[in-house]
Amino acid sequence: MGFLQNLYDGFYLNFIKDDRYLWLVSGLKNTLLITIFAVILGTIIGFIVAIIRSTYEKSGSFKILNGVCTVYLTVIRGTPTMIQLLIMNFVILASFNMNPIIVGGLSFGINSGAYVAEIVRSGIMSIDPGQTEAGRSLGLNFTQTMQLIIIPQAFKNVLPALVNEFIVLIKETSIIGYIGMMDLTKGAMTIQSRTFDPTWPLLAAAVIYLVIVMILTFFMKKLERRLRVSER
């Protein structure tokens, strides 16, 4: 009975006593908020950059914008996410006293945008140029052709890679504790600092991350299957 009693005591001490589980709950809420903000921002940036870059590669237009995008990609992919987060918080936004959720969302969104851009660009480049020609020959303009013909097909092709990027993103937000944000990881560490027991809170945080990722993967598979109806 001693083992079970120990388990119960550990669980009680780390989660129940003083409502310590609330650290995890509010941390999880912030982790999700930052991730959602970053995913939306990253997707918008990523698609815009991808369209500019792939159009430049195919037709040579958008020369200046392509240069700007290349610099963005080089800088973001060439520096650690952690450094970007710290610079965003302590340099760029230092004097604005912003909510760390916004700072984190901006920082992770701009970071993720670079990776999304390269994923989506490869998706666009994989679509047969004949698709663009067919669209344009019908009198559709560049934007309509992109929006109705190219992007939907490219999106389907890169969906698994995109979801993978968002999985990486969720986990990467665990460094936001460094700018004083109470996220899931920081919540677990806070419990640890009160109870001096690392095992329970850290394992709990790990399980929660794992479950989120599994849920995401589940929905991705469902969506993927739905998008494949045209290939029955």
């Binding site: 669209g135 009198g139 109705l148």
Partner: protein, 246 residues
């Protein structure tokens, strides 16, 4: 000037890719109701010529007048003119993520030329016309090559074009499917559609075309009505070419 309206007027058309001059000055006119077959050896520039007519290839010199407007002028809204120039590709280029009906509806509805309901009716009419009325809700993946090309023709027709360009429409098809596509094109010609067809089908050129154009080394070497063209060719390269393909 003849009684027929001139739809396309090509003046000194040039196209080069880097140092490679593919079209070295093409001059011709295409009038309403004409069916022009364009033939020539591979690499002669015949596809580039056809693709220049709706500016899928941007010419590096010369002019193309479509219904009197110089469409090579950068100030011209090319999208508006492309609506009136249908195009059918060798590789069909149907939109794989859309059903057959959606393929046909997409452009007229997006460009607000037809209401959703009218476009629907038109799509079904066109499917009837190309002999595939039961394929409306199928995805292109499920169709044979010949069926795909018939749908591609229906998609181009949905825009009510004034002229139709065909870029080797039967070259990617299995032999037994060539006939069904040529049959549709024959009917189109009979209905008075103006057509420019790059083709290797000499039988089609002979029977359906009102004029045959031989392009070689980036210029038109000879153009004549089919009887004259095939019966009494003048150009030495054309004679050589015909002796190989006939």
């Amino acid at each position: 000037m003849s009684d027929k309206k001139i739809l396309l007027e090509v003046k000194g058309l040039q196209k080069s890719f880097g140092d490679n001059l593919v079209l070295a000055g093409i001059n011709t006119e295409i009038s309403q109701g004409e069916v022009v077959a364009v033939i020539g050896p591979s690499g002669s520039g015949k596809s580039t010529f056809l693709r220049s007519l709706n500016l899928l290839e941007v010419p590096t010199g010369g002019q193309i007048l479509f219904e009197g407007v110089d469409i090579t002028d950068p100030k011209v809204d090319i999208n508006r003119h492309r609506q009136k120039i249908g195009m059918v590709f060798q590789q069909f280029n149907l939109f794989p993520h859309k059903t057959v009906k959606e393929n046909i509806l997409l452009a007229p509805v997006t460009l607000k030329l037809l209401s959703e309901a009218d476009a629907n009716k038109r799509a079904l009419e066109l499917l009837e016309r190309v002999g595939l009325p039961d394929k409306a809700d199928t995805y292109p993946e499920m169709l044979s090559g010949g069926q795909k090309q018939r749908i591609a023709i229906a998609r181009a027709l949905a825009m009510n074009p004034d002229v139709m360009l065909f870029d080797e429409p039967t070259s990617a098809l299995d032999p037994e499917m060539v006939g069904e596509v040529l049959e549709i094109m024959r009917e189109l010609a009979k209905d008075g559609m103006t057509m420019v067809v790059v083709t290797h089908e000499m039988g089609f050129a002979r029977e359906v075309a009102t004029r045959v154009v031989f392009i070689d080394e980036g210029v038109i070497k000879e153009e004549n009505p089919p009887e004259e063209f095939f019966g009494n060719p003048q150009d030495i390269r054309l004679k050589e070419f015909l002796s190989k393909v006939l």
